[in-house]
Amino acid sequence: MTEPAGGTSPEKSAGDEAELAREQKATAPDLVPANDPEVATEAAAPATDHGDGPRHAAEPASPGFGRMVLDNIYSANTVTVTILAFLLSLVVGAVLIVLSNSDLAGEYGYFFSAPGTVLGDSWTAISEAYANLFKGAVFDPATISGAIDGTNSWSQAFAPISETLTYTAPLIFTGLAVALAFRGGLFNIGAQGQAIMGAICGAVVGFAVHLPYGLHLIAALLGALAGGALWAAIVGLLKARAGAHEVIVTIMLNNVALLFLGWLINQKGVHDPARSDAISKNVLKTAQLPTIPGVDHSVVRVHLGIVVGVLVAAGVAWLLTRSTIGFELRAVGANPAAARTAGMSVGRTYVLVMLLSGALGGLGGAMMVLGTTASSLTGQVTANIGFDGITVALLGRGKPWGVVASALLFGALHAGGNRMQSYSHIAIDLVIVVQAVIVIFIAAPALVKAIFRLRAARTSGTPTSLAKGW
C-alpha cells in the first residue's frame, strides 16, 4: 500500500477528518441508551446498599460493579453477540414457521380485516413449535410431574436431556476436528468423510474381531481414530507436496468416502446375511460404548461417548496451549511464512494437523456406530455430523471449550428439532436454517452491532480470520 500521489493527500486528510467525525457521531448515540440503566442502578443502589450511593456519586472515576456489568452487556462482546445471534436466528426461524404454514398463509390473505386473529394464530404456531423444541431438548414439565406422581418413570423425565447429550457427543469430536484444523490454518470441510472412514474402521473392528469387554471397545475406537487420521492425511500430504487446496480435496474425499461406504456394506463378510437391504453386521456388544447401568437404554440413550468427548476436548485444549506441537500448529496457522522463517516445517505441520484433525473426525464417526444411535453400518450412518462440525467449530470460534458449548447447543437443537417435527409438524430442516443464521451473525459481529446499536467492545479489534483464502 503506497501513499497516493501528492495531489490526493488533502483529500485523504479530509477523509480522515470525516472518518473521525463519523466515529464521534457513532459513539454519541450509544451513550444515550446506556444512561438509562445507569440511572436505574444509581437509583437502586441507595435502596440496597444503605448510603453507598453518595460515595458513588463522589467518585465518578471508578464506575460501580453494576455499571460495569451493564457496560459489558451493552458492548458487543463475544457472549452478547452469541446470545443475540441465537435470538435473531430464532426470529428468522419463526418467520419461516409462519410462512410455511398453509393455514396461516390463507389467513394472511385477509390480514387487515382481523389482524388480531392472524397475529394470535401466528404466535400460537410459533410458541407451540418452540415449546416443543425446548421440551425435546431440555425437559418436559409434564414428565417431571408425572414422575413425581408416579405415572411415568424418572428415566422418561431425563430422556430429553439424554437425547441432547447423545447428539452432542459426535458433534464435539467433529467440531474439534474442524476447530483444530482452523488453528493450524487449514479449512477441513472433510470431517464428514473422515467420520465415515472412522465409522467404517470402528465398525469393522467391532464385528470382525473378538476381544473381551473394554479391550474391544478401545480397539474399535483406535481403529476409528486410525481410519479418520489416514484418510485426512491424504489431504495434508497433497496440500504440503502439491499445493492442492484442502477445501477442494476434502469435499471430493467426502464423496469418495460415501461411495466407498455404499460399496462396502454390500460386500460379503461385511453385509448382514440376515438382511436384504444395504446394512452391515452388528457391532458386537463388547465393542459398544456403555450406557448408564441399571437404566433402560432405549429411553435414556446417553452413553460414555459424551464423557470421552469432554476429556478429548480437555486434551485438545492442553495440546493447543501447552505443548510444542500446539505452538507450532498455531504458529503455522497464524502466519506460515513467519513459521517457516522460524525454522518450522510448514508442510510437516500441515500433515500433522490433518492427522490429528482426521483422528478426531474418525472418533466422531465411531460415536455414531459404537454408541446407541446405530450399531451397524448403513449408507447414512454418520448422518450430517461432519458438516455440522463446521458450524460447531465456527460457533465455538475454534476454541476447544467453545466447541463443547456449541456442540451442546446444536445437540439440543437437533434433539428438540426431532420433537418439533413429530409434534408440531415443522420439518427438522428448520434447525439447519437456525444453525446457519446463528453462525452468519456470529461471523458478522458488525451486523449484530448495527442491528442492536451496541457500542464496540473495549477489547474488540479486527475480527480474527479463521480460514485463509486460496
Binding site: S100, V249, M252, V256, L430, V433, A436, I440, L447
Partner: protein, 429 residues
C-alpha cells in the same frame, strides 16, 4: 492465456527448477501410466472381442470396431510414447498442453477398449451420446464456474456457488409450477441465485465476514431453507408446487447432424445455447472491455484501482450480483432443463465441483469451461460404462469425477495463482 502478471510475477511463473520441470514430471507420469495401461488393460481385455465405437446417439449407425486386446495395448503404448516425448523435450507451453491432452486421450481410449470388449450387456459405446451426456453433465458446472469467475476476478471468493445453484433450482421448480410457466421459473431461479449472492455481497463487502467461512455457511443456509420449504410445502403438494414443464429441445438444422459433436453442441434446451453465449461473452468481456479491465484491476490491486478512480466496492457488488444470476440460471437447468421437479439437496455437491473447475481452469472463463467439460466427461463415462455392464462396481465408477478432480487439482494444476486480492475485503483509506 491472458492473465495479469503485474504484481506478483515470481509466483505467477511456473517453477522450473533443475531437470525436473513440470513437463518432465508429467511426461514421466504418462510414460509409466501408459506402460501400466498397455500391460494391465491388455491382459484384462477379451482377446477375441471387439470394442465398437459408434458415432451416433445410439449403438447402431456408423461405427468403428477396434479389437479389444490390441486396441488396449496400442493406445496404452501411444500414451507412453506421448509421455516419453514430453520427458525428452521437457518444455512448457503449447507442446505441454498438446502432448498432455493426447496422452490423456490415449489413456482413456486404452481403458475404453478394455471396458467395451468385456461389457456384459453390450460391446458398443455410442460416442455421440457420450458427448451429449458430457455437455449435459457439464452445463450446471459451467454456469457455476462462470459465476465463480465473475465473483473471484473482482476479489470476492465465492464458495457459495452450491447454495446459489440449489436456490436457483428450488425457485425454478416452485415458481415454474405456481405460474405454470418455464420462463417464470427461469426468472425466479435467477432471482433465487441473486438472493444468496446479495447476502454474500453485503456480508462480505459491507460487514467484512471471512469469505470462505461465509460461503460454507450460506450453502448450509440455502440447504436448510430449500429443504425446509420442500418438506413443508412442496413434498406434500407435488402437483401444485413441484411439477413444472421443461424447456423444449431445439436443434440447429444441419449442424446437429455432425457426427459425435453435433448433438452435443447443437441439440439441446435453451440452457445449452445460453451457456455457449455466456462463455464467449464473459471471455471477451473480461479481457477486451472496460468492464473486464476494471474487474480484473479490482481483483488484483484494489488500492491502485481506487487511485485511478474505479469504484472498488461498487464493482465488487455488481460482479457478485451478476454471478448470482448466472449461478441461479445454472441451478434452473437441473429442474427446467432436465427433470421438471425439485428434490432436497438436488445439486448434491455440483457447486463444489464447479469451484474446483474454476480453480483448475485458473480463473479464466474458457479454462473453467474446459475443466467443467472434463468433469462432465468423467460423469458421463461412468454412466455409459455402467450401462454397458462394466465389471467395475458402479460405486467406483461414480467416484471417477471426484478422483479426477483431486488428480487435476493436485497433479496437473500445481500451485495456481488466484487473483491477488481474492478474499481480501477492501477498506478505503
Amino acid at each position: 492465456m491472458a492473465t495479469l502478471t503485474v504484481y506478483s510475477a515470481p509466483s505467477a511463473v511456473v517453477p522450473t527448477t533443475g531437470f525436473w520441470t513440470r513437463a518432465r514430471k508429467a511426461g514421466a507420469t504418462f510414460l509409466g501410466l501408459g506402460v501400466v495401461a498397455a500391460v494391465l488393460f491388455g491382459l484384462l481385455a477379451k482377446s477375441g472381442g471387439d470394442a465398437r465405437f459408434t458415432f451416433t446417439l445410439t449403438i447402431t449407425g456408423s461405427h468403428l470396431d477396434i479389437p479389444g486386446r490390441p486396441g488396449a495395448i496400442g493406445f496404452g503404448l501411444a500414451c507412453a510414447v506421448a509421455g516419453a516425448l514430453l520427458l525428452v523435450f521437457g518444455r512448457s507451453g503449447r507442446l505441454l498442453v498438446v502432448l498432455t491432452s493426447l496422452a490423456l486421450a490415449f489413456l482413456v481410449l486404452s481403458f475404453l477398449c478394455w471396458q467395451a470388449s468385456v461389457g456384459r450387456n453390450s460391446n458398443a459405446l455410442p460416442l455421440g451420446q457420450l458427448a451429449q451426456a458430457t455437455v449435459k453433465a457439464a452445463l450446471p458446472l459451467i454456469f457455476g464456474a462462470i459465476a465463480g469467475v465473475l465473483c473471484e476476478r473482482s476479489g470476492v471468493i465465492n464458495v457459495a456457488i452450491e447454495g446459489q445453484l440449489l436456490t436457483g433450482a428450488f425457485a425454478g421448480a416452485l415458481f415454474g409450477s405456481i405460474f405454470a410457466s418455464t420462463w417464470a421459473g427461469l426468472i425466479a431461479a435467477a432471482l433465487g441465485g441473486l438472493f444468496i449472492a446479495a447476502l454474500l455481497a453485503v456480508l462480505a463487502i459491507r460487514y467484512l465476514v471471512d469469505q470462505v467461512v461465509l460461503g460454507v455457511v450460506l450453502n448450509l443456509f440455502a440447504l436448510g431453507l430449500t429443504g425446509f420449504v420442500f418438506t413443508q410445502l412442496m413434498a406434500p403438494h407435488q402437483d401444485e408446487y413441484n411439477f413444472t414443464k421443461v424447456f423444449p429441445t431445439w436443434s440447429v438444422p444441419g449442424l446437429s447432424d455432425i457426427p459425435i459433436l453435433g448433438p452435443a453442441l447443437f441439440q439441446g434446451t435453451i440452457f445449452l445455447y445460453m451457456a455457449i453465449v455466456l462463455v464467449i461473452v464473459v471471455h471477451f468481456g473480461l479481457f477486451y472491455t472496460r468492464w473486464g479491465l476494471r474487474t480484473r484491476a479490482v481483483g488484483e490491486h484494489p488500492t491502485a484501482a481506487d487511485t485511478v478512480g474505479i469504484r472498488v466496492l461498487w464493482t465488487r457488488y455488481r460482479n457478485v450480483l451478476i454471478a448470482g444470476v448466472v449461478a441461479g440460471i445454472g441451478g434452473a437447468f437441473l429442474v427446467l432443463g432436465d427433470v421438471g421437479n425439485f428434490n432436497a439437496n438436488q445439486t448434491n455437491g455440483k457447486g463444489f465441483i464447479a469451484l474446483a473447475a474454476l480453480i483448475f481452469g485458473r480463473w479464466s472463463p474458457v479454462g473453467a469451461t474446459l475443466a467443467a467439460l472434463l468433469f462432465g466427461f468423467t460423469t458421463a463415462l461412468a454412466q455409459q460404462l455402467d450401462s454397458i455392464g462394466s465389471s467395475i462396481p458402479h460405486e467406483f465408477l461414480s467416484m471417477l469425477p471426484y478422483v479426477a478432480t483431486i488428480v487435476a487439482v493436485a497433479g496437473l494444476v500445481g500451485r495456481v495463482r488466484a487473483p491477488a486480492a481474492d478474499g481480501q475485503p477492501y477498506l478505503k483509506g
